[in-house]
């Protein structure tokens, strides 16, 4: 629940989702669900020359299971908040 809750706070922000097939997609975070499936709007693929496979795609749904990384906007990371939430979750689970 920690990361689901955290990603919900990033809705509307720009993130880059890096997939396990090496695709990296930058877009505005539209929504996230409990599986950490991610929906992005106004997307662009990093290195479009090499990956023209999504040239005509404007928005997408990324299955949580294929995500390797998400690059987070530095202004939206409150480390104290994350530490507290992590300790709370560690006690609970």
């Amino acid at each position: 629940m920690l990361f689901y809750s955290y990603f919900k706070t990033l809705v509307g922000k720009e993130v880059t989702v890096e997939l396990k097939n090496d695709l990296a997609i930058t877009g505005t975070l539209h929504s996230v669900d409990q599986y950490l499936n991610i929906k992005l709007n106004n997307i662009r693929v990093v290195n479009e020359q090499k990956y023209p496979h999504m040239l005509s795609v404007r928005a997408c749904f990324v299955r949580g299971s294929v995500v390797r990384y998400v690059q987070l906007p530095p202004g939206s990371v409150d480390v104290e908040l994350l530490h507290d939430a992590t300790r709370r979750e560690a006690r609970g689970g």
């Binding site: 990361f3 950490l36 990384y69 987070l72 300790r87 560690a90």
Partner: protein, 99 residues
Amino acid sequence: MAEEENTVREPLDLIRLSLDEKVYVKLKGERELRGKLHAYDQHLNMILGDVEETVTSVEIDEETFEEIIKASEGDSSRMVPYLFVRGDGVILVSPPLRS
């Protein structure tokens, strides 16, 4: 309470003690991360800060000569300010050395 917070009974306790410390994370696909641990959960999903990612070997498509040359170029490394890492790719997490 304080004592309970410091006891190590299970692997994740050790990771809890690494919060806000620099950790080393080894991932599938010959990837390594070094960064400050800011959050994690029971799946080992994590948020790291000031992360250095190193990819030691590029996957080789054995049918094309071109990519074999790329693989021999060796290590590549980059810095990312904040990175969410999905836990299913994590092989190991090493807490900071306390020396």
